[in-house]
Amino acid sequence: MSRRVTCARILLLVLVATFGFGDELDFYLRSEPKTFNPILVADDSSETIRYLTGGVLIRINRQTQQIEPDLATSWKVSRDGKSITFTLRPGVKFSDGTAFTAEDVKYTMDRLMDPSTHSPTGDAFRSGQGTVRTIVLSRERLSVVFPAAVAGMERLFDQVPIMSATSPQREFAVLGPFFVAEHQSGAYVLLRRNPYFWKRDESGRQLPYLDAIRLEVQPNRDIEMLKFSRNEIQLITSMDADYFDRLSKAAPGKAVDAGPSLDSEQLWFNQVPGSPIEPYRLEWFQSHKFRRAISSAINRGDLCRVVYGGHAIPARGPISPANKYWFNTRLPVPQQNTAQALQLLREDGFQLKAGRLSDRHGHPVEFSIVTNAGNRMRERMATMIQADLKGIGISVNVVTLDFPSLIQRITETFNYEAALLGMTNMELDPNTQMNIWLSSSDEHQWNPRQKSPATPWEAEIDRLMRLQASTLNDARRKQMFDRVQEIVVEQAPFIYLVNKDTLVGVAPTLVGVTPVAARPQTYWNIERLSISRGRAKNGK
C-alpha cells in the first residue's frame, strides 16, 4: 500500500515537473492595495487585484478591443438603450464553491449603484437622474434597467466583477482565475488559482495555467529592475524610459515598447473651497487664466525628450492619440510660450517685477507641487517644471511624499496646492471616465464631491458627459466628447503633460505574453500565461 502511495507521489512530482503545475508568477505592485472590494477600487494596485481575481459578465479583449462573453453567455440591449438582459453561464461557482446565480449579479449591481458606497466604477453607469434596477428573471437570466439610455453599455460591465450575495467570504469569494489566498499588509498579496474557475483551453484543460501569483509591494523601481534582471520576477508592467533603454541594449528580447499608451501624466491645482490653503492662493488656482499660463510655461517637448528619452509624446488633452476614435484631433499641439503665459498672468492682475511674480495684492507667487516619492520620472518632471516656472517668476517647491500620505492629502484632507500624478485609462470609451468628469464624483480631483457644479464650465461638462452617456449614436457622442475635451483644454483643470509609451519588461521564461497599449498591458490574458520551466532553469 505504502509503495503504491510512494509511486503515486513520484508520478505526481513528475507530472508537476513536466506540465508546470506549481508555477508561480512574481511581479511587483507599486503600492499597497487600498481595498480588495472590487466596487471600491480607485488605485492601480487594487485594480490589478481586481483584474486578476474578478469574474465579469462581459470581458473586453485588450488585444482586439472587442467585447467577449465571460460569465454571461449572451446578452441583449433593448432598442431604447435603457436595459440589457443577460443569460448567465450555468454551473459556475465562486472560489469558495458557492454557486453563481442571477441573485449575485443583482447584489453586485445594487451595491455598485448605492450612493452611500461612493463607488468610482458605479459613476460610469449614472446616465441620468433615477435609480438603476436589476430584475432577476430566473436563476440564470436577469435584466439591468437604467433610467436613461446608456451608450456603450456592454463595455461598462468589463469593470464590474461579480460578488457573491451569499458567501461568508464576502468580496473574497471571486469568479476570476485567481483568489486572494494571503495578504500581509505592506509586504505582499498571494493569489492562488481558483479551483472552480470555469474557463478551459482548447484541449479541455482547466485554466489558469499558473498556480499562483505573488505580488510583492515594492515602490522602489530600482529594486524591481534589479530583481527582474536576476529573473526573480518575471514581469515589469510599466518601466521607466532610462531602464528601458538600458534593458533594450542588454537584452532586447526582454524590453518591449508597445507604442503610446492610453495613460497620461498631469498636473492640477487644488480648487476645493475650504481646503487648508491661504485664500489668495485658492483664488490663483481657481483662475483659469492662471492655470493656462502655467500650462503655457511648461516645455512638454523637453519633458518627453529629457525625462522619457523620447518614449513619450506631449499630451494634447484628456485622451491619448492612442485612442484613435475618441481622441480630438482638433486640439492644438501644446508649445511652450512664456510670452503668452505672462500675458495671461497680466490679464489676471499678476505683475512680474525683478524676476519675481506677484499677484494684485502683492503676494509673491509661490506654490508647492506634491508627487509620490520614489517615482523618478515624476520627480524629474516636477524639477523641470520648477525650472520652467522660474522663467516666469514663479517659485515652486517640489515635495515628494509616500503614496498613502499623498492620496490622503489629495482625497481627504485636501492639504496640498498642486499635485503631479498620472491617470491610467483601462478603457477606450469615455463612459469609463465619468468618475473623473462628473463634478459630484469622488475622483473629480481638483474639486471633488460637489453638490452642484461650482462653475458653468463644469456644469457644461456634467451635461455633455451625461448626454453622451445616454446617446446611442456614436458620431453624436463623439461630437459631445470632443467638446468636453476642448473645454478641458480651455479651462485647464488638469494640465496634461505627456502620454508615455507602453514600456514593459517580460522575462523569456514567461510564455504567452502579448503586450498591448490598453491596461493591463502584460497580463490581460493572465489565465493563458505559463512559466517555461526548462527556460527558467537556463535563465537562472
Binding site: V306, E366, V370, G374, M384, A387, N397, L401, S405
Partner: protein
Amino acid sequence: MKPARVAATVVVVIIGLLCVAESLLPRFDYTAQDRLECSSRPTGKHWLGTDALGRDRFARLLHGTRVSLSMAPAAAAVSLCLAFLFGAVPGYVGGLSERAAKAMIDLMLAMPWLFLLLIARAALPLNTSPQMSVAVTFLMLGLLGWGVPARVLLAQSRRLRESEFLLLACATGVSRSRLLVRQVLPNLLPVMWTQFWIAIPMFVLAEANLSMLGLGVAEPIPSLGSLLKEIESAMATQSYACSFSALLVLVVFVGSVQIAFMRKEVG
C-alpha cells in the same frame, strides 16, 4: 602627530576651500539645466558630466558639499550645546539632576531617531522653501542628536567633580560657578571638540538617509545626501560619475574622524 591625521586635516581644509571658492566661480550654476546635454559623460565643459536633467555635476557636488559641510557643523554645535546643558552641567552638579539627566539621555538614545526625524520632517508645511528645508533638516538633526555626546560629557564632568584638584579648589573657597567656568569647562573642551568632529560626518550621513527617503534637502538645492541618491539611478543610466559624491562623503567621514582623534591626542 601621525601623518594620517595631518593628511586628513589637509584634505578636509582643501574640500572646505573648494566649497568656499564655489561661490566665487559664477560659471558653476548648480540649478542650470542644459537640456541638450543630459546624463553626459565628463567633458571640458562639464568636468564630472551632467545629471539626468543636464545639470553640471561638478557644480552640484561643490554646492552640495558646501551645504552639507556648513550645515552639519552648525547642527553639531547645536547638539553639543544641548549635550553640555543636559550632560556636562548635571554631571558636575550631581545628585538628583544627574539621575534625571541620565534617565533623559537613556530615553533619547532609546528613541528611534530616524522615525522621529521622518515624522518631524513630514510634518513641515508643504511650502517650506528649499533653503528653509536645509536649515530645518539640519536643525532637527542637531536637536535630536545630543544623546551620545551628552552621555560622554556627563561621565567626564562627573569624573572632574570627583577629582582631587577640584576638591582642593573647593576647599580653598572657590565658588561652584567659578569652578565650572575656570576649571571644568577647560577640561571638557578637548572632549567636546572630539564629539563635535565625530558628529559632523554622522549628521552628513543622517541627512543622506533622509534624502534617500525623499525627505531631505528639497530640489533644486543639492546636498551630499541628495547627490548620493543619484547613485540609485546609476544602475539604469550606467553613469558612474555620480559616485564622486559617495567618495566625497567617505573622505569627509574619514577626515573628520581622523581630526577628532587628533584633537583627542592633542587634548
